[in-house]
Amino acid sequence: MRYPPLAAVLALLFSAGTAPALAQGDAKRGAYLARAGGCLGCHTEQKKGSVPYAGGRALGTPFGTFYGPNITPHPQAGIGRWTEADFVRAMRHGRRPDGANYFPAFPYPSFTRIADGDLRDLWAYLRSLPPSAKASRAHELGFFYRWRFLVTVWKWLFFSPGPLSKIPGASEVVNRGAYLVQALGHCGECHTPRNFLGGPKRDRFLAGGKGPEGKGVSNITPARLKKWDDKELAEFLTTGTTPDGDVPADAMGEVITNTTSLLTPQDLAAIIAYLRTLPPLPDEKC
């Protein structure tokens, strides 16, 4: 260019103008992703009139009771002081801003698979929520289970961070379904049986067994899923009624109300298509 200083100034102005726009996520997209991820369920108290995402929900596990924290943008009670990098570190690596481990009751082993762009949009959505001053409740854990540094061992054994790669040879639809199930939907966190250390049994993906709170969860591999056709499955995941007029367990009922009934028909079809491609596994013995 003829006037290098002008060019330099223009380049600076141009980059300053666009860089923030590139870095900002889409809160509207993030709202949909938060539904697909079921964030509301664990981060909202199970009480009438409770503030969404302000924390307080109890999750009973063999290791003790966890209470989902306040993730509204309140500077003290919530995550108002976090940066986007803090959020990504939490979801991708299961670490707090101060570097301590999160307990994997927070399903970062699934959320680590979420794509960068989606994390950005989720962050934008969380930032847009009204801040709540409700204090997060401390977990009530068994003696050895409350030491966060031991989670480092757990992670070494059971946690591989990183976004989900596409399944080679699978269609776009099946890949979308894989992403919704393995990353956002974190279905395996309940539906995959675990060993005594609470690590998921990788070769028993979605084979059911005992859920976190001790109640049985269904085998949703094709060994069982073949009993219902696509229309029946879609209807179950939107209305919460089985083909023979039966009801799901309360926990799955919540998932249907908060997540699957709110997905687009295409996304629901993708989930079903993906589930049908999984290896059929026998029921996990409880």
């Binding site: 059911g208 049985g216 969860v217 209305t239 023979d244």
Partner: protein
Amino acid sequence: MNKTLLSAGLALVVGLGYSLSAFAQAKPEVLVKQRQAAMTLVGKYWGPVNRMRQGKAPFNADVAARNAGYLAALSKMPWDGFVASTKDTTAKTRALPEIWENPDKFKQAADNFQSAAAKLAAVSKGDEDGFKAAAGALGKTCGGCHNDFRQK
């Protein structure tokens, strides 16, 4: 003593004894099957009611009233199948031991179901809003048993 009263009393005692003993003679496997049959039919008639409630099927006053009546009757039927002899049966059942460990809670859940079904059947034929509201209330009672007293 009054002959009529005496023979009536005798008939009552014999009848009661007969019905009790006939009932007690039913094998646990049979009782399990029969209570499951009642629940299968509950599912059959609840399905269309639920779809109408959610607007997934057009409201049909005749079907709504008929199904509500069936559900009210069916809601009373399973309970006499949950006797102690079925607790340790080898028959295929998802009934949990909690039923006999926590009988008051189980009875409360059963009563909630029955009263909600009765309320649904009491809705005036053709009252779509009333029907949908009562159906919603009925749907909320399913978990009372199915979440705590039934396996998976």
